[in-house]
């Protein structure tokens, strides 16, 4: 819980300072490679959620990978 509170604090500071004058070190016109669809974190959310659900039904770990959907997967 302490980790969560600390991270929330950091996130709040970041959010509240979003309008400050930090200049981007990677200019918008330099982001053509990052705009390539192969650089997307998750191209197919349904597929990722399905694989996460399979794993979370069989492993003790969970979370920090996106939504895994609901249900039990008990049997």
């Amino acid at each position: 819980m302490r980790v969560l509170c600390f991270t929330l604090l950091i996130a709040s500071v970041l959010l509240s300072s979003a309008c400050s004058g930090i200049q981007p070190w990677v200019r918008p016109y330099e982001r053509d490679r990052l705009a390539d669809p192969i650089m997307a974190w998750d191209r197919d959310a349904i597929s990722s959620a399905y694989l996460d659900h399979i794993r979370e039904s069989r492993e003790g770990s969970r979370g920090a990978t996106g939504s895994a959907g609901g249900g039990c997967g008990c049997n």
Partner: protein, 395 residues
């Protein structure tokens, strides 16, 4: 043929240009992704289980700053895992999950509200979630905050697969908190950190799994009893990931996730992905994942006697284990130039093979063989194959 390929390349080239222009709009508002519809089929087989899944989803941008999404997922389960085989009849069940999502963009902030309803004969689950995503620092940084609240009703089928008799055992509530950070580091490199904290309260055990304890009065040398779990659990997971655009057109992604919870489970997940487009109409993706965990503090494969401890579990999820996944994904772009109001379409095939190995969970379906005394049975392991095929159209 060559002319057709040229259309394909030009179509994808235009798409890339549009995406690039969207990302280059530094001072303007955030943009919702394209509308899309997906048809999805999946097959899981392993450990005595066969699960076939079907899904249909549609996402539509109602206006430039509002999108609605609906997804329906059906899992058909047949067979039974090692736990069920050791004590009960086989399972035949269906899980239906419906998800509705509203996304709204205002300036550089995206708000998402979602509701998930999942129904099985012996399990009901409802989740409401809210998240907001904020771009900042010249769009180099994206921060997301998320909250989800889930309430579950847990039951047990004491009838048969065809004539179920459901006993409802209790409820569980789960609250999940997410903080995600995505950061452009260089022209070729993106980094990300995801933190997730989950708290559970209520009936957290799996009613289909049992503890076993030594019992000389039983011919097998052991007997089975009910699991007793703590009624609270809090877990923390943090994942670090990086995605790098290689000197040629391909991307490699690496991630590590650390997990720990109040049941003393500590898990480590390592994943490496390689994405390689071919001729602009195919995208190949190879995937390797390794996972390991130790057992929960109240887990034991064989207790010395009945009710030895206050909390006892023998669920294979709680056992010390590791698993390795190799996966391959192929995405083929068809109708790349669109058709009528479709902008483009893709079909994807995804195959994974997962090897599960348990380090202190024994395969008790060998009971009755005289060479295995309780606690000396072979450790359980199994391989699973997971297949997915889905069709996506963007409009």
């Amino acid at each position: 043929m060559m002319q057709g390929m040229g259309h394909v390349r030009r179509g994808l080239g235009r798409l890339g240009l549009v995406v690039a222009i969207i990302l280059m709009r530094t001072p303007s508002a955030d943009v919702l992704p394209d509308s899309r519809a997906d048809l999805f089929w999946s097959k899981y087989s392993g450990g005595g289980m066969n699960i076939t899944g079907y899904s249909a989803s549609a996402r539509a941008k109602v206006t430039e700053d509002l999108a609605l999404e609906y997804n329906e997922f059906i899992d058909k389960v047949s067979g039974a895992s090692i736990d069920v085989l050791s004590q009960a009849s086989q399972i035949k069940d269906t899980r239906k999950q419906k998800t509705g999502t509203i996304e709204f963009v205002h300036d550089k902030t995206t708000y998402t509200l979602s509701y998930i309803n999942s129904v099985e004969r012996d399990y009901r689950s409802n989740t409401t979630s809210f998240s907001l995503k904020q771009d900042m620092f010249g769009d180099l940084t994206t921060v997301s905050l998320g909250y989800a609240n889930t309430t579950d009703a847990v039951g047990e089928n004491n009838g048969t697969a065809f004539v179920p008799i459901i006993d409802w055992l209790g409820h569980a509530s789960t609250k999940s908190y997410d903080i995600d950070l995505s950061q452009i580091l260089t022209k070729n490199l993106i980094g990300g950190v995801n933190l997730n904290v989950v708290t559970d309260q209520g009936y957290l055990a799996n009613p289909y799994r049992s503890v076993r304890y030594k019992d000389p009065s039983n011919a097998k040398g052991y007997s089975l009893g009910s699991q007793v779990y703590p009624d609270t659990r809090t877990s923390t997971a943090v994942q670090f990931e990086a995605k790098y655009y290689l000197p040629y057109r391909a991307a490699v992604t690496g991630s590590y996730r650390y997990f720990r919870d109040t049941w003393s489970i500590v898990g480590h997940t390592y994943e490496l992905d390689y994405t390689h487009p071919i001729s602009n109409i195919l995208i190949l993706e190879g995937r390797f994942r390794y996972y390991k965990q130790n057992h929960a503090d109240f887990y034991n494969d064989l207790f010395d006697y009945a009710a030895e401890y206050r909390f006892e579990g023998r669920d294979q999820n709680l056992a010390a284990q590791d698993n390795t996944t190799l996966g391959l994904k192929v995405t083929y772009a068809w109708l790349p130039n669109g058709w009528r109001f479709f902008k483009r379409s893709t079909v994807t095939f995804d195959a994974s093979r997962i090897q599960f190995k348990y380090l202190d969970f024994r395969n008790i379906k060998y009971y009755g063989l005289p060479q295995y005394q309780p606690g000396t049975e072979p450790l359980y392991s199994f391989d699973a194959n997971v297949y997915q095929v889905f069709l996506s159209v963007f409009f």
